[in-house]
Amino acid sequence: MRKFLPFAAILAALCLSACGTSSPDALANNDPYEATNREIFAYNQKLDDWTLHPTARSYNRNIPQPLRESIHNTLTTLDLPVTFANDVLQGESKRATQTLTRFTLNSIVGLAGLFDVASGMGIPEHSEDFGQTLAVWGMDEGPYIVLPLFGPAPPRDAVGRVVDIFFDPTIYIRIKQHPWWIVGRNYFTLLDLRARNMETVDDVERNSLDYYAATRSLYRQYRANEIHNGAPGAPQPSEE
């Protein structure tokens, strides 16, 4: 998922974060601004409860599954140039070729990405972003930070999201520079993500004693898995 992330939001969040206090547990979790992060997380959760969650539920109920699948396919096809750029930057030639083939097939045969022809031909979907590229190059994640509206965004991933904007060719197409294009695409990306993970997110929230800590762990583990491209290395090696 790519999200437009204004620099102002990052700066505002960093300023807010500086007000946080650091308990020993927060420091152990590399979450020095935990108190502030929890406040922003609670705010984001309310926003989700009031807006995104009901909209995503209505979207799942009222839009037929094949149409939702086509919208998802189109959105992921639009993301493929960013994935391709990051495949190349990570030196992943095989995955870069897969991405290029997926883009060509799904754009042309799949009618502008409406149909995922490539997966049917055994070329699997994968996603890369500049945050992952920075991780592959050896950069640490940095302290855990939650941004208003945008959710978890440690510095490495926040920088990655900003850089990815410039890898996206659609921002250079004059006709697409209309703000509605950016707003609409990001809105549908967010809606698609929320709708596809509706049950999982609801389950995690319902089963959690501390939803904030669960989300932090989930985010870090999921990112680690993405960075490793699903290869061994994600689980903790042994017990204490």
Binding site: D25, Q221, P235
Partner: protein, 219 residues
Amino acid sequence: MYKFPQGHYVMAATQPLRLMLAILVLAAGFAGFLAPAQAATPAEQYITDNVQKGLTILNNKQLSKDQRRTQFQVFLLGLTDIKTIADYTLGQYRRSASPDDLAAFDDAFKDYALAVYQTYFNKFSGQTLQVTGSYPLAADESVVKTVMIDPAKSHEAKPLEVDFRVVGRNGRLAVIDFSVEGVWLREMQRSEFTSYLGQNNGDVPTLISSLKKKAQQIR
């Protein structure tokens, strides 16, 4: 000059080639013979045999909701090592907890974990498990990689990746964690519990009380 019969020339010329060919054929046959031997490790076999049993319970529409829950809990207790998981999730607070608190925590965690695991396994209802491989973590531990095949989804859809961390101790294999798309549940629970305890002065009885309430809510 004595001339060898024509056939002898041919035989002499082709003998090394035949020998090489015979070695290649034998080698290929041997490799083909060896390949099935590495098909399934004991951990992979354990997951193949047992997790499918759990899915069969969830898919059994003839059972009532209560019967399904009871049978699935018995299955989970046999599949997993709940005590090891419980110990791990307490993190550093395990060292400072009293034996009574630890025993009470183990009981509360068992109820909570069984309820949570059933929630997640219910998502795989109607699907079949396919083991795709495994890799070792230690001499007695490995991760078994699987995918859940959902017949309701189109063949283009990427199958869900579910991995199981299997440990072999005292002559018994047991699952001590599982992950969905790279997110390990035990790790997530440890992060939650230690964070919760951090905010409650490390008071394990408070955690136990919350776990009991949560288990009831989930059911």
